[in-house]
Amino acid sequence: MLGTEFEKAVDEIVARYPEPKAAMLPVLWEVQRAKGWIDGASEDWVAQRLGVSSSHVHGVVTFYTMYKRNPSGKYHIQVCTTLSCMLRGCDELVGHLEKRFKIKIGETTPDGKFSLMRVECLGSCGTAPMFQLNDDYHENLTLDKVDKLLDNLP
């Protein structure tokens, strides 16, 4: 589906477990890494490869919040809004981002560059408020720091 390199990587993953089904989460990560999101065809492929039904794979993809079922923005901003971040001003941060991008939480900018999401505790309470931008945590944020960071993104 995604080439021999991809299938080799999947084979290596499957070999780490006593049953192929256990490779589910890491294989879905490989799909998302390769395609940017997980579509129905990918779910079918994974189901076949791991010996389960497509509906089982769909159940997994829809359960875990980090698997994307649609393409998202180039920059996926996930703002933590749980208690410790709330105490240190995350609501103001969210408002600032919504205003800057002219979108609401859960939306993507029309040019496809930025997606804004609200997420639960990211395990960074000591450096609140913060957000995760794609793979990276950005901590101890102020509105100024945020603007500088976003202004300088390629």
């Binding site: 780490r16 749980t82 410790s84």
Partner: protein, 425 residues
Amino acid sequence: MEKILTRNIHRESSQSIEVYESNGGYQALRKALGSLSPDQVTEQVKKSGLRGRGGAGFPTGLKWSFMPKEKSKPHYLLVNADESEPGTFKDRLLMEEDPHLVIEGSMLSAYAMHADACYIYIRGEFVHGTRQMQKAIAEAYQKGYAGKNILGSSWNCELVLHVGAGAYICGEETALMSSLEGNRGWPRVKPPFPAQFGVWGCPTTINNVETLACVPFIIERGAEWFAAIGNDEKNSGPKLYCLSGHVKRPGVYEAAMGLPLLDLINEFGGGMLHDDRPLKACIPGGSSVPVLTAAECDVNLDFDSLAKVGSALGSAGIMVMDSSTCMVKALLRIAHFYAHESCGQCTPCRQGCGWLEDILDRIEHGKGRAEDIDLLKSIADNIEGNTICALGEAAAWPVQSFVKRFRPEFENHVTEGRCVVAAPA
């Protein structure tokens, strides 16, 4: 107290195996494989009084002793690195800054329970931690600390990092097993217990990252040394405390088990964030444990002391709230978390958590009714004890404790139709 768990973290290249070994790293694993039987390792851990640092505080040596004495199936050790309890960020620190400590602790523990493989389940959001752990695991394999014939012995044990994908519930040990097997993260009824029928139907033990990080020190310096740290032998050892919220210096601080909460806030944490906003409330063990009023904060941070005052040490996520905090808004934010994270299996949790959030939302936005406050308690009381896993209790306890200790604030929201806690600009 000298730095024990955090002794490496500020050293240059602390993550590398060279730095780890230069500071005595992997000596405990060598000692165990060279001169101790697996049962002797378990005995030491039992004697040390080590209790689980993931949230439940269950005696670790006792948990290990549940594994079958006769081996008829593969044995598995699962490392719970799914740290997601709000207020908690200590396991992340260990994995990012001293991954070999986590690996040595895991392999020592795997040895104690005759494990054939050790899977480290790390939450998907910890991308940086995942990279550090991956590198360290590769280094460990190269040096013969994992894989076939570990340190020249006849023991084989694979060490595999397994990355989660965003689900708090996967930190619950049976949900972690469901997820590892390739399913939705649904908790399972116990019994059967993991040690009898765990992952892939095999004897399994699940331990928290920090718990396992204690094991090399217990083996190296002795159970008695570990048991002597802290105020009493039932609450022993070094402890990582996660301080967050309205303090000047939030962060992870290591101290002996039993550190006074006020010392954590004032000595380690630099005191309250704003000098003119005094302490109002504190959740001492991650959002799942009952909140304490300021008056109740004169307490030691250990399992039994906090249990005595009707709360818990939990995951040691200490969240400090000052006088500017609206307790209704804070509880609403917590309730949203549990409603979002409920796996959906059990009706009381699936329906109850959402209902609690809806009521709190109405109260917060001036649409509360007088009967809503007792209704909150009634719903929480009916979730508690009626679910497959402890997320039910975790959702119920904040509601019960906030309403009990801060009831006038809830009543005010209802009668005034708004929040009367001044929120400064």
